[in-house]
Symmetry: D2
Subunit: 379 residues, 4 copies
């Protein structure tokens, strides 16, 4: 039978084909444009003929997060709607670090990705649906270097200014699945959680902070190869118009509570990172974040605090990072939410690993925790 | 234009037509078969011709819960999928107590009900879907007097025996909407809340304890006019085979946690009732329930504890009621969940009032509270 | 493992259990109430435990259509939405004629039926959806002996009076699937076929002429055991109020074209029966029907003319049958459409046999043929 | 209130903004890349604030088809799923030809397009779903200049080689809606029309011959500004790899029946164009096409023969056009199907005009006509 073919000519498609033989292929990652980062992949395999595919992605020791590959299983879909996992193994000593994916599809076509993609078309469907909900206002914050709009959805009549934003790192597509889940809660008139939050807060939701990187199939950067989450101290129209637009809008509204939604390549858990080490740090300020963290831990079986990032020492916070900048600049309860590319090791799901479905449900838990945090604060 | 026509010849249909003139009708409630209870209604109006309907239901001072009518708005649907509310007013001095419903439908047909119906066909769809989920076992507990099966769905590998059952009072259809919401959590392999609960518990879910009353359009009783929630002390095959079957199955498994799901006609709130006054009462036993209640209050904006039923005095508990019997018989943390027919006055929804959608979301919150209760108990 | 259990306590449920042993059961058909007809069955098997079920329905030589069982495969569903076929064999010499159904379900519950059921709840959903379509009028023609409404949907601004009605024989549920397909064409504003027909015709659609028989699980009769398709000469309020109501409404409108939709138990083909032998027969009248038949044969791969019923000789038509009565009474182009319970032998479908899906698509072809018939008549 | 904003940074987005003032905008079309053609537009308007939008597209006398603008109403959508029409007027004397679109959206965001877009994401969903159907084979014919795959779906076991292909002109998105309709028939195991055709034919379906032009928002050309439907005589890898790949694949299979699906900017009707004037013309060959055309006219209310293109004189056929080349090269019954951008004037639909829904239904009629054509040929 003839060779499989491999394509990437679609939204967020990315891989480089080295060799193909029959149903086997040797591939390598592509760098983000004008950047050294590489980790994301998204490609289609055709002409499978029902054979077992053996896909090797090599050279991974040079990827952005080599620790992301052990215990990682590639995402796979035949219908582009349900994303499962294909059993994968990592050998750091093979061809400079090789992930070997084995999968026997039931049909001629199959899609693989680092995580279930969230396309710009789906983004626009989400924005359109949300904007058509009563009480929701659309606001265009700005434009990207590739000429895409930077979309923000706003709702709620309360005093507390809440900013939810995600996918600064475009390959962390779970962030936009999370946003879809959050917007379903906030836009559903029959959901009392959404209604209660809209009474107390004004929400500003940016489902995708980096549309260019998303469409181009980048892991961490925008059209110019810039890591947006290192631009919050001094964003520029030339290099980081996305951050500049968001930060300007935040300057207008002020920020009381902010969640910047991400994915983590290596750690097999959901966790939060706070803003330890900012110049204006106070224990009272920090406690507001810790209290939220404790509430979320109590509420969500997918959330934990044992695993996570080390905290910055006093005065050592990197203010180019969004959470630190936002906490410092607005005295906000700011935080970074990290979801795994792999799975939550406490409740592993062999079929799907961490998934779009779980990302969406986690958003509901995060919003439930926000309401409990707001209410207990009043008491 | 000609008179509207009114029909009840379908699942849970019930009303009696006194007079019809043009687009106006005078109706009265029907008693449950062999019973004095009456409160439920469900009828279809045809030939509306786009006119404003003026529907009067009279004689309501003799209904089971006269306090149910002030501030109540009738449920209405044109597509039998979305149930809104039709503005309604109650005058206790008009014709022995009259609810006047005014509604201008957009089409020739419109359905009215005391609450959004949950038909036996939908019941079977729910049971079929749930039974086809991996890890779920179907168990037929028994048969009703009308020859319908009493369906139970079981899942989970844990030690804690949890019984969730509802709609002993068949007109309280919100109970089965709640069950649909609960089964969606428990049966969804991508929902970590369901997975965590299935690890800790063995669930026994009876979505509808009273299929005969449901199909017949009863408020509170089964095919023989028996109020099942007064049969738990001495259920009989003749009068209450439903309770007998469930209680026998509980005797087999034992019960650690039990929630009996209901609707309340008068109180505009969601609340729990416990088992105060049972012979074996201990504060430690009671505290298990109160602790659950506090957790749920913290988690769910639709739940509160200010409004509710008075507690029985020491030794005064009525052991014919399920919650008391189950708490006494199995030393279970047993409780009755009550949802409003009207609305939650704390978060009123003009469009839908209390609704199927909210009942389903509340189920998720109740299960989230159960997990938190189980986990905090361990700590 | 324990015995399977068998239930029929739901819409159109019908079977009698003789014996059950493990995963095997011996069953027999139930007569229609107050009637000798028996052929329909619809039951649920629980507690399958993944075992191969061996279901025997015995005594079939006494059923209404013994010729219906050879080459028949029972309909089966696990989700009550998709209905496939379970391999079945008929032995006329075993226990007075036995159909043996073998099926290994993937879950604990499985439904079997003579044909994919169309419940009264689905009927009401269909009526509600159609009635909410712009330009559609609902008309209640009358009421059944069990108190159900006889529903008629009307649409179109043309001169040609078209009556489409089905399920006089309630066990012929394919007739109502056909109606659902027809109403989707006629009610879809984006479907030019529907729009063209509505310009030329006034449609009167009775999706279910026999709701009582449907709900009771009858094959051929109403609540009183009366075969409605033998009542068209002299329908009475006592025995056949359904026919009386429809015929009265036809008297009001007149009838130019009528299709009475049925299922045939024995013949493995789709065919039409006309009105040969009516007193007023003329070849010109007959040719109108034959012309329609030729057009449909040309258009629809599922329709044929080789197999079918013998034609009545001159003057021998049975005027108690709807098609004959309607042709005679209104000089209408009247016809009976028959779909198979088995399959269309020309295009057999091992998975589903004749199916709801095909019944719906056939309706579209029948309406396409009607437009072509009307247009070619004008030319 | 502030100005509306206008965006095109998405799949098939195209317009140029000249001025914006409040809720009014003056726009002009963009040329296809490296081409003089311009006619397609697709843009999003934000910040509408519920105001009446007045959108003027000027300079249209220089567009590819100036006759396309009189009686044309722009397509509009708020949810990106349902596409209606916004009342539009054309004044050839205003600003070099101006289309004025007036529309009052119900929400903050609204999309306008020349015709309902069919995105590449939807294309991949369609390809994935179809490829997962039993009996369907995916075949990658080649690759575009922008690196997108050229997708072909194949099915059927018959001798007759049928090629269905569309969207050589990428702005004629109705062509791909037609393809979606055709693939639903051909891939549906319950559709006897599809099954009958698969018995007689081998289908080769290319839903989108010009992915690059589609994604770029072109009207008529590929990434290099080449009109593919003028490349069939001598396609080249440099300029028209799409045509080269398709024609090579046709050379492999031969072609008996071919339909090239298009949209027409000016004519308000559905029609076919044949291959008059090809060198090898014979009346018998031509009659095969005319016979198909007559069958389709008889079957489809949306199809007609009064309006259409003039026929080429003997020997005057342009062999660079697909239909002529395919008819000549393979002695195929080849044809071009044209659907309107405006509406079918015989059955105008004020709400939607010609629409995706109608394009899909037309595909079913075309396939029904193909079966009748094949069957009557045999007789
Ligand atoms: Ca990250
Ligand atoms: Ca109650
Ligand atoms: Ca029959
Ligand atoms: Ca064209």
């Amino acid at each position: 039978m003839s060779n499989i073919t491999i394509d990437t000519g679609f939204d967020s498609g990315s891989i480089e084909v080295m060799t193909v033989h029959q149903a086997s292929a040797m591939l390598r990652l592509k760098n983000d444009h004008q950047s050294e980062f590489k980790q994301w992949f998204h490609f289609r395999v055709a002409n499978t003929g029902g054979r077992e595919l053996v896909i090797k992605i090599v050279g991974l020791n040079d990827s952005a997060y080599p620790a992301g590959w052990p215990d990682y299983n590639a995402c796979v879909s035949e219908d582009r709607a349900f994303w499962g996992r294909a059993p994968s193994t990592f050998d750091k000593d093979e061809e400079g670090g090789t992930l070997t994916i084995r999968f026997t599809p039931t049909c001629d076509l199959v899609w693989f990705a680092y995580f279930a993609p969230f396309s710009m078309e789906r983004h626009h469907d989400l924005v359109a649906e949300c904007a058509s909900t009563e009480g929701v206002t659309y606001r265009k914050l700005g434009e990207t270097l590739d000429g895409q709009p930077l979309d923000c959805l706003e709702m709620g009549e309360g005093e507390t200014q809440v900013w939810l934003y995600g996918r600064q790192h475009p390959g962390e597509s779970m962030a936009e699945w999370w946003m879809e889940g959050a917007l379903e809660v906030l836009g559903n008139p029959a959901d009392t959680l959404g209604r209660a939050l809209r009474e107390k807060c004004r929400f500003h939701v940016v489902p995708n902070c980096n549309p260019d990187g998303s469409r181009r199939g980048h892991l961490r950067t925008n059209a110019k190869g810039v890591n947006l989450n290192r631009e919050w101290a001094e964003p520029t129209a030339e290099n980081s118009p996305e951050v500049l637009a968001i930060r300007n809008a935040m300057d207008d509204t002020g920020v009381h509570f902010a969640m910047d939604v991400h994915g983590d390549e290596a750690i097999d858990a959901v966790f939060l990172a706070g803003f330890e080490g900012i110049p204006s740090w106070s224990d009272e300020h920090g406690e507001r974040f810790y209290r939220y963290q404790r509430i979320l831990e109590r509420r969500s079986p997918d959330f934990q605090t044992a695993k996570g990032y080390p905290k910055s020492g006093p005065g050592k916070a990197n203010l180019t990072i969004s959470t630190n900048q936002v906490a410092e600049r607005y005295a906000a309860t700011a935080m970074t939410l990290e979801m795994p590319f792999k799975d939550n090791a406490d409740y592993p799901d062999e079929l799907q690993g961490w998934s779009p479905e779980r990302s969406k449900l986690l958003a509901r838990d995060c919003l439930g925790a926000l309401l409990e945090w707001l209410e207990s604060d009043e008491g």
